[in-house]
Amino acid sequence: MNDFIWIFVSALLVNNFTLSYFLGLCPFLGVSQRLDTAFRLGLANIFVMIITALCSYALNQWVLPFAPYLRLISFIIVIASAVQFVEMAMKKLSPDLFRKLGIFLPLITTNCAILGLALFSTNKGYGFWEGLVYALGAGGGVTLALVLMAGIREETRLLNIPKLVEGTALNLIIAGILSMAFMGFAGLFST
């Protein structure tokens, strides 16, 4: 039980995919203008991560022992089909969100955070439940980072930001400050 808590907290806060590993930064910077969009992209990320964790476990268990050279390509195929599924479902269920996410939804396919999740959990030798908890933590971490970023960016619209740093420069600075604040979690539960 303790192991699961540790895996979850570690992926959520200590080794946050976005703010400590700097994985999957494109949606973090690209889709964080609005809170609701960012939150729902986070949910999409969690969903894709869970599918990836399940499939990568199955692949590791039954396919890759016989064909280890297929690792990368099979992970990518799994992720791509999961994203395709999310995309179709979203287009049907919430065309508005589909339009708002735009290019960033198909970009989850090549999002390093997702492939990173599959590779990390393989390297760490996680089993089925551990991989699932890891995916939940990592997805939660990505969502947390997205939501914090979006909250701050919505606030900056009301501020008197100097022309010089408006836009991308400020977003990168905010990302840096958030990452600095997350340094406080270093070593959490490690003893």
Partner: protein, 330 residues
């Protein structure tokens, strides 16, 4: 008759006499005993550090602000300088203090548009930057050598040079607790007879400052009270569960930067929530994060990170705890 001038305006109709400089200088006034105490414990070096931090903050603000908008007399730069200095260990090299001031004001305030616009507390942002950039220097607590007028040699280190001076380093109560599981006694924590950053040694003065600031209504009482209550209650629970491994509540509250953080940093008017229930959520959040980082984290102290993280969450808190405007239907 009809040219009678009627002033038609929207709310607010009740105006307070408080002005920004008025508030800021009152905060500076309440900080003076803390600064004096720090020089009593750590010698004149503490005053030098404070002076350098203030100069660096004010200069940075003067340099980056549009001439029309800048006024040194509002005192906000001075407060950031003093607060930054109060979070630094004695004997911290002055050139690093200066860089901390530049980051605090430059990255913490002017890029957001100046006074009243920043998301993160400037002093803590400067401190977090220094912690990331100079992790060794900022966790070395040099013992003062006793002579009041001596400035510690490590303070005068040249930029990017290793200081050759011998220093006697001491451990802070939190570090002793974390690594040796030994608790400092409460009376020493209250009177400040302990190692630590400049402004975090004397508990009594900080409590008095809190009472003063609450009584003149500069800080909202909900924030320090909710932080201290949360830390107290949570640590009491763990203390009762396992007194050998977890520190007592009075130790948790009085040690480290919790008091100065709860009184001065968390209550920053700009970076804390504005809604009544938001204040409690914010304070409880800081309390939980402090306990989490202190008891199970890799670092002995987490007040700075806890406040920065809750600053980051403040826009969200404000948004979800917004009070329904009277007469406004959703």
């Amino acid at each position: 008759m009809s040219d009678q001038k009627l002033t038609i305006s929207t709310s607010p109709f009740l105006k307070d006499a408080a002005t920004t400089p008025g508030i800021m200088w009152k905060v500076v006034f309440s900080l003076l005993p803390v600064v004096i105490a720090s020089s009593y414990y750590f010698g004149v070096g503490a005053l030098v550090t404070t002076a350098v931090a203030i100069i660096s903050c004010v200069l940075t603000e003067w340099f980056f602000s549009p001439r029309s908008a800048y006024s040194i007399s509002d005192g906000s730069g001075v407060i950031t300088g003093i607060l930054l200095a109060m979070t630094l260990p004695p004997g911290f090299p002055l050139w690093m203090t200066f860089i901390g001031g530049i980051v605090a004001i430059g990255m913490g305030k002017t890029i957001w548009g100046g006074l009243g616009q920043n998301i993160f507390n400037p002093a803590l942002l400067g401190r977090a930057f220094l912690q990331a950039a100079f992790p060794t220097a900022i966790t070395t607590w040099n013992l003062p050598d006793g002579a009041f007028l001596d400035v510690q040699a490590s303070q005068l280190a040249m930029p990017f040079m290793q200081s050759q001076a011998d220093v006697v380093s001491s451990a802070t109560p939190l570090a002793v607790m974390k690594f040796d599981k030994v608790e400092t006694n409460t009376w020493d924590l209250l009177t400040g007879n302990i190692g630590g950053s400049l402004g975090e040694t004397c508990g009594i003065l900080l409590i008095l400052a809190m009472v003063y600031l609450i009584s003149v209504k500069i800080i909202k009482w909900q924030i320090p009270v909710s932080i201290l209550l949360t830390v107290g209650i949570l640590s009491l629970v763990f203390y009762l569960l396992d007194a050998n491994n977890y520190p007592s509540p009075q130790f948790m509250i009085l040690s480290g930067g919790l008091l100065i953080g709860a009184v001065y940093m968390a209550t920053d008017l700009v970076t804390s929530p504005i809604t009544p229930s938001g204040l409690w959520i914010y304070g409880i959040g800081i309390g939980i994060l402090v306990v989490l980082i202190r008891l199970w984290g890799g670092l002995p102290e987490g007040v700075m990170y806890a406040i920065l993280l809750m600053n980051a969450a403040t826009p969200l808190i404000n948004r979800y705890t917004a009070v329904r405007t009277y007469g406004y239907k959703k």
